[in-house]
């Protein structure tokens, strides 16, 4: 996939000496959706703000669509749309005016039809003449998205777009993201909602303490790092795990009524068949079986805690 964003050795050290970005390297392919995950203060917003031109980088280079973000800022910024984390709006402006203003700011001539479509897609059409100060937080968030889409960007940054919004908007937004993906728009999403990344992203990048810890295809990541567990419910209480079963590293539950076995689902042999056979040999009767795959959240927490420990 042709990269539309190419970040090389990007660092940002703030005046006080805080390193927000530490030698970041990342390529984002055209048309993909990449979710940038990381704890608070990891550098997600700094990275986005630097690419958009809001923050000056200390060193390194960023190219968007082959153009340098500093030297060729007109070419790069004209194809980028940004939905910032903070709800910043002009309180006294109407929805229609503020969205139209955004389009003009990016050098595009008026297009009432497009603005109408965007507002309808985001369920804002009936609020088009309302002043922004009269809108709820969720509605303001929709306006921010509408503003970012007003100039038909090819690259869209969504910086925690679901923060503080209801389920309905989140689903509306996912639908808009899906439509954008179909038109070939590249989307870089930061979020705290792991299920959001899991639901819409193609790739996952994890950033922690200004460093990119991991960049991986979501499905591959789930397969590579995602452990599966098999929980066996037994019919009689087990005081301890028999020696014959020690090779499986089983965990006995507190109520002594279930055994948990962790295995690699992508491996040739999972060991499940032999475990069940050995359970039978040990006269342990199985009442029920359940398998569970670890979520992206489990993987994320694991990666971040590893980083914190190092």
């Amino acid at each position: 996939m042709k990269p539309i964003i190419s970040i090389q050795n990007l660092s940002k050290i703030y005046e006080g000496g805080f390193t927000a970005l530490d030698d970041v390297n990342l390529e984002v392919g055209e048309g993909e959706i990449i979710a940038l995950l990381g704890p608070n203060g990891a550098g997600k917003t700094t990275l986005i703000s630097t690419i958009c031109g809001i923050i000056n980088a200390s060193s390194g280079q960023v190219r968007v669509n082959g153009f340098d973000i500093v030297k060729d800022f007109r070419q790069t910024r004209s194809i980028i749309g940004l939905v910032p984390q903070e709800l910043t709006t002009d309180a006294f402006e109407s929805v229609w005016d503020t969205v139209s203003f955004s389009r003009g700011l990016f050098g595009k001539s008026k297009s009432p039809k497009l603005i109408e479509k965007i507002l309808k897609d985001l369920s804002l059409w009936d609020k088009k003449d309302s002043k922004l100060m009269t809108l709820s937080g969720g509605m303001k968030r929709r306006v921010m998205i509408a503003k970012a889409l007003s100039h038909e960007p090819r690259v869209l940054f969504l910086d925690e777009p679901s923060a503080g919004v209801d389920v309905e908007l989140r689903k509306d937004m996912w639908r808009v993201v899906e439509e954008l993906r179909q038109t070939g728009v590249t989307i870089i999403l930061t979020t705290h909602y792991i299920e959001e990344a899991e639901a819409i992203a193609d790739r996952i990048a994890v950033i922690n303490r200004g460093k990119i810890v991991l960049v991986e295809d979501k499905a591959e990541l789930m397969q590579k790092l995602g452990k599966k567990t098999l929980t066996v419910q037994i019919s009689k209480e087990l005081k301890s795990i028999p020696k014959a079963l020690s090779k499986y590293n089983l965990e006995l539950s507190d109520d002594k009524m279930s055994l948990t076995y962790a295995y690699d689902a992508s491996g040739k042999r999972t060991g499940i068949t032999s475990l069940l056979s050995d359970l039978s040999t040990a006269k342990i009767l199985v009442r029920d079986i359940e398998t569970k795959q670890s979520s992206l959240e489990d993987i994320f927490v694991g990666l971040v805690s590893e980083g914190a420990g190092s």
């Binding site: 703030y14 005046e15 958009c52 031109g53 809001i54 923050i55 000056n56 800022f73 007109r74 070419q75 790069t76 910024r77 004209s78 980028i80 940004l82 910032p84 903070e86 910043t88 709006t89 002009d90 309180a91 006294f92 005016d97 203003f101 955004s102 003009g104 700011l105 990016f106 050098g107 595009k108 001539s109 503003k147």
Partner: protein, 253 residues
């Protein structure tokens, strides 16, 4: 050039003026009329003429200058400070627009507002006193250059300020005193020698003086010197703004 963006910023700012018509246009006009009452009627009844010109007419250029200077500074500073305060500045900073285009939009709108005010005050004054303009084109050039340069100063203040208090600090403590002490309501020749010398260090003197020359062909300093002074001030402000955008001073971290 991203003319569409310049137009958007300009229209956005003008829209703000239309929304607050009372505050933007009517209030400065009422204040100026009060100055006419106080200076023209109360003081004017004791000072008949200054350098052969009726005192009421003499103060007209000074009053216009007082208004356009303070309004240029306050409009331009508020125009850029408010998006900084609300956070909406992110949109301007991430748009494909150069520093010059941003300045053109904000300062252009502030200049337009000040010009409209200046012309309204001139028209209002002509109903009260007999105003003759010897060089109308030069008068308009002076007014325009003054509006642009002080809007640029306001823009600088708006970027520099990080609180509403600071936003008011320079206009109240520097601009207004300079205007009052810059010969708006008197000729410098009326002052004692030492104050005359001090006044020559006041940049506003050159603006008021050049502007007054365009009205009455009389001034404290040569109109050429005035024109050079206002041009130097204008380019000085532009240079400071260029530096602010280049370094991201108070705009980018």
């Amino acid at each position: 050039m991203n003319w569409q963006a310049v137009k958007s910023i300009y229209n956005f700012e003008m829209q703000r003026t239309r929304r607050s018509l009372m505050q933007s246009i009517i209030s400065p006009v009422v204040s100026t009329l009060l100055y006419f009452v106080v200076f023209g009627s109360a003081i004017g009844s004791r000072i008949q003429e200054v350098d052969g010109i009726d005192y009421g007419a003499f103060i007209v250029p000074g009053l216009i200058m007082l208004t356009i200077l303070t309004q240029s500074v306050s409009n331009a500073s508020f125009g850029i400070y408010f998006p900084k305060f609300t956070g909406t500045i992110y949109e301007v900073m991430s748009a494909p627009i150069s520093f010059f285009e941003i300045v053109l939009g904000y300062v252009g709108a502030a200049t337009t507002k000040s010009m409209i005010l200046g012309i309204i005050i001139l028209i209002t004054a002509s109903f009260i006193v007999d105003v003759t303009i010897a060089h109308p084109i030069l008068m308009m050039v002076f007014m325009l250059l003054t509006c642009i340069s002080f809007s640029l100063l306001g823009f600088i203040i708006g970027i520099w300020a990080d609180s509403f208090e600071k936003l008011q600090l320079i206009p109240l403590l520097v601009v207004t005193p300079l205007v009052f002490l810059g010969g708006s309501f008197y000729s410098v020749s009326m002052l004692p020698d030492i104050w005359q010398t001090i006044t020559y260090f006041n940049p506003v003197l050159y603006l008021v003086s050049g502007f007054r020359w365009a009205f009455f062909e009389m001034s404290d300093v040569s109109p050429v010197v005035s024109l050079v002074a206002v041009s130097v001030f204008l380019f000085g402000c532009l240079a400071v703004i260029y530096w602010m955008f280049k370094t991201g001073y108070k705009l980018k971290s």
